[in-house]
């Protein structure tokens, strides 16, 4: 303690001393308390003093309770008998029950007994502060025990300027996973977005089937002809839906991206119903209604559509006419694209096999019964209880913005920020084409905005959750893209919120059978498999991995059941349809790949849960479905073992990798993989120089390998070669920004900037400028560590 004293300013010390003393009193009381609490197991100090030494010891040793063992110190420090008194005092102060006293390595056990008594005596004497001070001066060790606890008043003046040096209490554990990255490098330009890259099924909306069968369509959506649809835009979206003179801009707009005919829409008839104005027509329960749906449906719909009409057209303000004019053109273009498709019947027929294969799903019993009754026309869909319906809507309507630009405004000024050019939801075609453009240019925030607009047009906009609506292939695809992007952007809570109305994705209105007139003859799930998977994975990012696992197990069960059906000779859903051998094989292949995808998700989830045993087992079981990924999977398992700390097991798996690589034809990526694994083993053995050498060997084969370049630079830092490491990373980012403007590389670079110089902020700002030129609005600016 005295050594410490000399280091610190005296005035501060004096202040601190009194506080330390107060703490000591408090400590003593505490300690006594804890000893009393332990009376069930151990003798209290009072008893201890009255009992003879040997008796009390006998009591303790015969006691069948577990005893705490003092971990004195690290082995290198402790020879048989050199444990300093500080350690014993430290432990005496830290151990809650005095039992550890018995375990200390000291020649006489009696010493420990007196040691426990010390605080009691002190307390009994009811010392004044000064008395205690004296005692403490004698017993230095106690002061030392106490001083760390009086942390807040400690005289140490430490400027923790470096973020690395926060107090451990406030910091998260060191093994906390790096925030998961969703930022993708802009390596090669994404595939051309020409219309020919467009899947015909994607644009196959119900309205194109109805184009030829208008009569049946009318029965389902009687409202669409009688009253024009007006969507109530959410406040911030209202800019987009400007009143440009047309009566129903929103529905027009919606049709434009789904169907060639602009006035036929199967949009939900209630889309225009403002929540307060009328009760939803579908809330009628079947028992109150005659079994003729049309007669019921008509009046209920026409009534609300007339009512809310006027208020809504008033609420839609005539804002910003300029923004609507450029939209007109893309719409026309889009129509041209869509009208170019072939005869819809031919397309539909050729797709039916593929449709059945992809859309197959096994609904729960209740849903299945309901779908059968809809199919056999026992009653129309209108009689389904509302709580069995899916009524989604946007849960937030604020625009997503661009964090890169915000940072530029803050650090580089408005002028510089003006230069940033990124696509926004308004600057692209208001269609799937525009959406794809935003996704591929990594403007996912703008893409989320665009999905919001498109869904609003479909009547599932902001505030529409809980209101009856109808679903189409397109609307569900839009939801999938929106939710997938929110997940990619780490906006998990938002995704969960908007997923919530979908329930477990098993409501009857999410199946094609529910819409026999819109999708005649079509069966299976409207919800894409990828959306089910996303739904299942999502809870793991929200600290509910168990729920994610449950959902994934459900998916797995269905996949296995479908595979079993196929192997038995029936169709996917178990129905007795004869499939051609070719189709059966295609279907088996598809469902096996889906099963393996689910297994991957399960393994990833288990890894996130740190259940390494099951994670390793699951990854291992994927090899049978994806034999071509054997090398990657085995290497991945090896890395898991390294993460746990089990270097030996990791080496076993890495050897397995080397064997697999030898068996196959020489593949440069496999050589890379083997060298990489070796480097990781060296790293785990603290041999940074050897690890660095292995990474350099990889670079001989593939000089542009981004991961290896980054890893080699990291090794250099651990070797004490900061400038070299920094120079390398900086060079890489400058030469090949497409590959190296990656979140983790930039994080490493900014960390080294912080370590290198006090002028790191300028250097980070230079990085921000580089990012601004290349990256979209989905860039995670946190890795720049500017704020």
């Amino acid at each position: 303690y005295q050594k410490l004293q000399t280091d610190f300013e005296h005035s501060r010390l004096n202040q601190a001393v009194t506080k330390v003393h107060l703490n000591i009193i408090y400590d003593i009381l505490l300690q006594q308390d804890s000893i009393d609490l332990g009376a069930g197991e151990f003798v209290t100090p009072q008893e201890d003093s009255s009992a003879t030494l040997s008796e009390s010891l006998m009591d303790r040793l015969n006691d069948q309770m577990m005893e705490s063992v003092m971990i004195s110190d690290s082995p290198n420090n402790s020879e048989e008998d050199d444990v300093g008194p500080i350690d014993s005092f430290l432990d005496g102060g830290l151990e809650e029950n005095g039992s550890s006293g018995n375990k200390k390595e000291e020649s006489e056990i009696g010493q420990n007994t007196t040691e426990i008594k010390v605080p009691v005596d002190q307390k009994e004497q009811e010392c004044t502060k000064d008395d205690i001070k004296e005692e403490i001066d004698i017993e230095e060790q106690i002061q030392i025990v106490v001083s760390p606890q009086s942390e807040a008043h400690s005289p140490v003046v430490i400027k923790s300027e470096d973020p690395e040096h926060q107090s451990p209490k406030g910091t998260s554990p060191k093994d906390e996973p790096v925030p998961v990255c969703t930022i993708f490098s802009q390596g090669t330009q994404p595939k051309s977005l020409a219309p020919d890259g467009f899947q015909p099924t994607l644009i196959k909306s119900p309205s194109f089937t109805t184009g030829s069968g208008g009569g049946s369509d009318e029965a389902v959506t009687p409202s669409k002809m009688t009253a024009p649809l007006v969507c109530q835009p959410s406040p911030s979206l209202s800019k987009f839906f400007t009143d440009n003179g047309q009566a129903n801009p929103a529905s027009d707009f919606f049709d434009s991206f789904t169907a060639p005919s602009s006035f036929i829409s199967i949009s939900n008839p209630n889309a225009d119903v403002s929540p307060a104005s009328t009760p939803a027509p579908l809330s009628f329960t079947p028992e109150h209604q005659p079994p003729t749906p049309v007669s019921v449906f008509g009046p209920t719909v026409t009534e609300p559509t007339t009512k809310p009409q006027s208020p809504i057209s008033q609420t839609v303000p005539s804002l910003n006419l300029a923004s609507s004019t450029p939209q007109a053109q893309p719409f026309n273009q889009l129509q041209a694209v869509f009208s170019g498709t072939d005869d819809p019947f031919a397309t539909a027929l050729s797709l039916s096999e593929v449709d059945r294969r992809h859309d197959a799903w096994l609904p729960c019993e209740e849903t299945r019964k309901m779908l059968i009754s809809v199919a056999t026309q026992q009653y129309g869909p209108a009689y389904v209880d509302t709580n069995r319906l899916t009524m989604p809507g946007l849960k937030f309507d604020n625009l997503q913005g661009d964090a890169v630009k915000d940072l530029m405004v803050r650090f580089l000024g408005e002028q510089a920020a003006m230069k940033r050019q990124v696509l926004t939801a308004s600057s692209v075609e208001q269609s799937f084409v525009g959406l794809k453009q935003l996704v591929s240019s990594k403007n996912w925030r703008a893409a989320v905005d665009l999905t919001g607009r498109l869904l609003t047009a479909h009547g599932q906009g902001y505030g529409k959750a809980g209101q009856p609506t109808s679903h189409t292939t397109d609307s569900l695809q839009l939801w999938f893209v929106r939710l997938a992007l929110l997940t990619k952007l780490n906006l998990f809570q938002n995704a969960e919120l908007e997923f919530e109305p979908f329930g477990n994705l098993d409501q009857p209105d999410l199946y094609y059978e529910y819409y026999p007139s819109v999708y005649p003859g079509r069966r299976g799930s409207m919800v894409p498999f990828s959306m089910r998977l996303l739904h299942a994975e999502l809870p793991q990012y929200l600290a509910k991995p168990q729920e994610a696992l449950d959902r994934l197990h459900n998916l797995k069960t269905v996949c296995l059941a479908i595979l079993e059906n196929l192997e038995k000779g029936s169709a996917e859903d178990g129905s007795m349809i004869t499939l051609t051998q070719e189709n059966r094989q295609a279907s088996l292949k598809l469902w096996r790949s889906r099963l393996s995808r689910v297994m991957y998700s399960m393994a990833n989830c288990l890894l996130l849960m740190k259940d390494y045993i099951l994670a390793v087992e699951t990854y291992h079981s994927i090899i049978q479905y994806e034999p071509q990924q054997r090398v990657q999977l085995l290497s991945g398992i090896g890395r898991i073992f390294l993460q746990v700390g089990d270097v030996k097991m990791a080496e076993v798996y890495f050897q397995d990798v080397e064997k697999s690589c030898q068996m196959k034809a020489r593949d440069p990526t496999h050589t890379t993989c083997v060298l990489m694994n070796r480097a990781f083993v060296y790293l785990s053995q603290n041999s940074y120089a050897e690890a660095h050498a292995s990474f350099l060997e990889v670079l001989k084969i593939d000089p542009r390998h981004p991961v290896t370049n980054n890893n080699a630079a990291v090794c250099l830092l651990y070797l004490g070669r900061l400038k070299e490491s920094l120079g390398q990373l900086e060079g890489l980012v400058q030469q090949d920004p497409a590959l190296y403007l990656h979140e983790s590389v930039l994080f490493n670079l900014t960390t080294m900037y912080e370590l290198e110089s006090s002028r790191s902020t300028q250097k980070k700002q230079a990085l921000l400028e580089a990012v601004a030129c290349r990256e979209g609005d989905s860039f995670n600016t946190q890795c720049l560590k500017l704020v």
């Binding site: 005893e67 063992v69 444990v83």
Partner: protein
């Protein structure tokens, strides 16, 4: 002496092991709206595993994000960089890094010689390592002294404080066997926040004992750990290790008279965490009170495991005089409901000097099937007229031989 704008900058970063970057795979199928777009984005991402993009755990190393926790027994590593922020060359730079603990001050600098000169924008780098041996507050004190061009001698220092926490909680329990063996059960709990791979948990016995680890089940040539394939401990998980200690022959003879506290040995624990971050601890010497046997100790040296019903079998008992006086002993054998002794009860065993022992062959049979307890032996010291009762000294499994034949 510190100027308002420090010309030299101390920058310190703790070097925990780097971590592997994890991806967040979001995929779709070709028929979905984005088509191959999501797949393409994942393939273009440099941090994904090529060919297996959905594998979450990548290969990209990322530097530690924060100081993290440091535990007793781990190695504290730190990067220390002194950077010349001024526009002038400085001379004779001496960098010192000390670690102040509650009990001592350690010098951690790799070199103690001064650097002749430091140009603007250059730095002096050092990576220090220290195995943490104390719990509680540690202060890294970095000091630098240098001479400016005007010949002014300057000195400044910086403090970095951190807390060292306890990583493990160890509890022990001794079981004394009827023989001289001692079983040690050690419960080791991981009280950190991350999983720990237990690389080694061994008992280093004191000179009196030989130790056998009972944590491996041997089947064939290969031993399998009782903890399964993966030997790691999740946060707050506890694991029990069992050890059997046998006194070495030279001490075994005296074991009967060993009393009081004996030193058993200490546990040596080595663990590893993320990418081989290593820690090692030893417990203090574990002590055990030898069980008190009273004046006379009786142990069963030999007894069959399984015997036939109503068929006499032999057992051998050992009698040790643990008292300080010579005893004259008389043996009585009392039948119980199940166990029947053969031979004469009440016979004299003769004199037994202190510390001496006597082997006693006896014959007995059981009239009831099942696991039977051997009871009913009485020793009487004829000098003091004191009787010692020995019940439940061993168990034996009694079976019916005829039933076996039928099967």
């Amino acid at each position: 002496p510190s100027p308002n704008i420090p010309e030299q900058q101390f920058l310190v970063m703790r070097l925990t092991k780097p971590t592997l970057f994890t991806n967040l795979p979001v995929t779709c199928e070709d028929r979905d709206l984005p088509g191959d777009l999501f797949g393409q984005l994942m393939r273009d991402d440099p941090s994904t595993i090529k060919g297996a993009e959905t594998l979450m755990l990548g290969e990209m190393l990322t530097l530690p994000q924060n100081f993290g926790n440091i535990f007793l027994g781990e190695t504290f590593s730190s990067y220390i960089s002194v950077h010349n922020d001024s526009s002038q060359v400085v001379k004779d730079i001496l960098v010192k890094a000390d670690l102040q603990t509650s009990s001592q001050r350690l010098n951690l600098s790799a070199s103690n010689s001064a650097v002749a000169e430091l140009k603007p924008e250059s730095c002096i780098d050092d990576v220090i390592h220290h195995e943490v041996k104390e719990i509680g507050t540690h202060i890294l004190v970095c000091a630098v002294s240098y001479t400016t061009q005007c010949g002014e001698k300057l000195y400044f220092r910086k403090f970095f404080k951190f807390q060292v926490l306890k990583p493990l909680d160890v509890k022990t329990k001794f079981y004394n066997a009827e023989t001289d063996e001692v079983f040690l059960e050690a419960q080791i709990q991981n009280i950190t926040t991350s999983p720990m791979f237990m690389e080694k948990v061994s008992l280093e016995p004191s000179m009196m004992y030989n130790v056998t680890e009972l944590n491996i089940v041997t089947s064939g040539d290969q031993g399998e750990s009782t903890f399964g394939k993966m030997s790691y401990l999740q946060p707050m998980d506890t694991r029990q290790y069992l050890y059997c200690l046998k006194p070495k022959p030279e001490y075994a003879e005296k074991a009967g008279v060993i009393k009081g506290v004996t030193v058993i040995g200490k546990l040596d624990i080595v663990w590893k965490t993320n990418l081989g971050e290593r820690g090692r601890l030893q417990t203090s010497q574990l002590q055990r009170m030898a069980p008190g046997y009273g004046d006379i100790r009786m142990s069963v040296e030999m007894i069959p495991e399984t015997v036939n019903l109503e068929e006499p079998f032999d057992i051998t008992c050992k009698i040790i005089n643990c008292s300080e006086r010579t005893m004259d002993l008389q043996l009585e054998m009392c039948n119980t409901r199940t166990v029947h002794w053969c031979g004469i009860s009440g016979r004299q065993l003769g004199k037994l000097t202190p510390g001496a022992s006597l082997l006693l062959p006896l014959t007995v049979f059981s009239s009831v099937q099942g696991l039977q307890s051997i009871s009913g032996l009485r020793l009487t010291d004829t000098f003091l007229k004191r009787t010692y009762e020995y019940d439940d000294i061993a168990q034996v499994c009694v079976v019916c031989p005829f039933l076996n034949n039928e099967c």
